[in-house]
């Protein structure tokens, strides 16, 4: 029995199911409860947005150089303006700002180069970013070479210090985390035990405690002629702390790879490191992008804790500026500014990770 002898011609979709009106109807007003929530949501948004915009933009004061220039009706961005260079460079001497600017420009250039897919020589850029750039940045920022005056690390601060702590932390935590994760899954009991103890120690102690110990207690135990820079100590503490978290994230990814993958690679005669480097890690890291970026974001925000040991990162320097008697009472503006800068960086990381996930996934979706 034949049902349809001729092909049924294609017909347009019913009116009101496609296009913007269709979308609205299907998603925001597809029933009394959903419609109610839509209207309620719009109302709450209105209640929140209108005063915020009025405070931050419409009634705000932007130009001036003292508190008298602020009407106090809206936000007083004059404060942020006046302190801006401090927020960026900390107590870095202003005649040497150009050195920090070069480092900022290089940093931005590297990021842009890595993020824009069309640009070539990614591998060489990575090598430069990992080997050349840190040396160049150190020489420029710290000085003492090529007639550059020395700027001791306790004068570094602001956004510059935040970015420094965050990038060193990220670049250090990922490889250490990978090694720890592999070690924790190792067949060798000594290696495994060492990694478990290491991870559990650093995960079990609050970061504040680690920073505090690094800055106050470590010098007590070390012989007095050994004097490690406070910034270096903070960096080591931060990196090791985050690498323990990273290790657990990566271990989760490793566990999600079926055992057959390792067996197939082993059956082809690959050594352990080739199996890990060519087969297991690429799959695990891809799967772990959300977790890794999550750790990066929390690391980025955790850098604010270095305040406790007297390093002035972005938040620290904002807070220091708030206690300036000439600018008392502008804490909201200060904190909003700091929050905004942190948000920009964290949100960019989050967006980039989503882009990476999409890009890397296309290959083997069914």
């Amino acid at each position: 029995m034949i049902h349809n002898k001729d092909m049924i011609p294609e017909q347009p979709a019913p009116k009101g199911t496609i296009g913007p009106i269709g979308w609205l109807r299907g998603n925001l007003f597809n029933g009394p409860i959903n419609s109610l929530f839509t209207l309620l949501g719009l109302y709450v948004l209105y209640l929140l947005l209108v005063p915020t915009i009025q405070w931050a933009f419409i009634n705000a004061d932007w130009i001036g150089d003292s508190r008298e220039d602020c009407s106090r009706v809206g936000a007083c961005w004059v404060f942020v303006n006046a302190r801006f260079s401090q927020f960026i460079y900390g107590l870095y001497p202003s005649e040497e700002y150009w050195r920090a600017n070069i480092v900022f420009a290089m940093f931005a250039g590297i990021i842009a180069w890595m993020v824009i897919p069309r640009l070539p020589f990614k591998r060489w850029m990575t090598v430069f970013a990992l080997l050349g750039f840190p040396v160049a940045a150190y020489v420029l920022l710290h000085g003492g070479y090529f007639d550059l005056p020395r700027v001791p690390t306790h004068r570094w601060g602001g956004l510059m210090l935040t970015l420094l702590l965050a990038s060193v932390g990220m670049i250090g935590a990922l490889p250490i985390g990978i090694v720890l994760a592999l070690g924790r899954r190792s067949n060798m009991p000594i290696v495994r035990t060492f990694c478990v103890i290491f991870i559990e120690f650093w995960r079990g102690v609050p970061l504040i405690t680690i920073l505090f110990m690094a800055s106050v207690m470590l010098p007590l135990f070390l012989p007095s002629e050994i004097n490690i820079d406070r910034l270096i100590r903070a960096l080591i503490g931060l990196t090791l702390f985050q690498s323990a978290y990273m290790a657990e994230v990566i271990r989760g990814g490793l566990q999600a790879i079926p055992k057959g993958q390792d067996e197939a690679a082993a059956a082809l005669g690959m050594t352990y490191w080739k199996r890990m480097g060519l087969i297991i890690m690429p799959q695990a890291l891809k799967m772990m992008i959300p977790g890794i970026v999550n750790t990066f974001i929390s690391l980025f925000k955790d850098t604010t804790l270095v305040m406790i040991i007297g390093l002035f990162d972005l938040l620290g320097i904002v807070q220091a500026a708030l206690s300036d008697s000439r600018w008392l009472g502008f804490s909201i503006e200060g904190y909003v500014f700091a929050a905004f800068v942190f948000w920009i960086f964290c949100f960019s990381m989050s967006r980039y990770s989503q882009y990476l996930e999409r890009k890397l996934n296309t290959g083997h979706k069914q």
Binding site: G260, E263, A264, A267, M270, T271, L278, Q283, K286, Q366
Partner: protein, 253 residues
């Protein structure tokens, strides 16, 4: 003397009194098996009889605790270098294919020749294409495993193993995870491989395959080799009761 020497070099796989335990569980008991170069062996038996474990011991995916295994004249020891040497000469095809999902079909086939045998990329790719053509899947070379059917994936897995020019191929239930209509395309490739003289040890329930290509059929139960014979007498005149029962169960319907 001469006779013994030729015999020794002719033996591809030797397992002498191999015993293995999973914890307390005795999975392999006094396994004695010798496979000559070019011989095709089919291993069958009920599930849990240790047949997969047996062939996984040959390339040390499982470790045996007692007895000797010699592959291509090289005794299998704990030494990692020795194990890797043996694995390079032993190909393995798994029940669930185990292709690398992050690599294309071509890269799956090239990765071991390039990184284990240090072949240049171009040579490895030519070799891979040659074997992909042999398993009739060359046109899919740029796709990823996730885009292929089960039968296609298993043929790629066979090609991937062949790219290493193995002396012996181990098949661990290569058709058990396949939809019925795909079993034939994989078996056809395996039959061709057998006709070209590849040494093969296959764990399979495909009795038709066993009848056409096997030189010997081995029946295992509870970790032991119960019966071993050429296919014709094995199927027509099984000696042990357990073999008879097993054959009646899988051929009876």
């Amino acid at each position: 003397m001469t006779q013994a020497a030729t015999n020794a070099s002719d033996l591809m796989v030797e397992m002498h009194n191999v015993n293995k335990w999973f914890g307390d569980f005795h999975v392999l008991r006094d396994i004695y098996l010798e496979v000559k170069r070019g011989e095709r062996i089919v291993v069958c038996g009920p599930s849990g009889s240790g047949k997969s474990t047996l062939i996984r011991c040959i390339n040390h995916l499982e470790e045996h605790q007692k007895g000797d295994i010699v592959v291509g004249g090289v005794p299998l020891t704990q030494d990692v270098k020795r194990i890797e040497q043996i694995r390079r000469s032993v190909g393995m095809v798994f029940q669930h294919f185990n292709l690398f999902p992050h690599l294309s079909v071509l890269e799956n086939c090239c990765i071991a020749p390039m990184w284990v045998q240090k072949k240049p990329r171009k040579e490895a790719e030519e070799l891979a294409m040659q074997y992909l053509e042999r398993v009739r899947i060359a046109e899919q070379a740029t796709k990823y495993p996730g885009q292929l059917s089960g039968g296609q994936q298993q043929r790629v897995a066979i090609a991937r193993s062949l790219c290493m020019h193995p002396d012996v191929m181990l098949f661990d239930e290569p058709t058990s995870a396949l939809d019925p209509e795909m079993i034939k395309e994989v078996l056809d490739v395996m039959v061709e491989l057998a006709e070209e003289g590849m040494t093969m040890i296959c764990v399979t329930h495909e009795m038709g395959f066993a009848k056409t290509v096997a030189d010997r059929v081995i029946f295992m139960d509870q970790g032991q080799i119960i019966e071993e014979n050429a296919p014709e007498p094995f199927f027509n005149n099984p000696q042990s009761e357990r073999t008879q029962l097993f054959l009646s169960q899988i051929l009876g319907h």
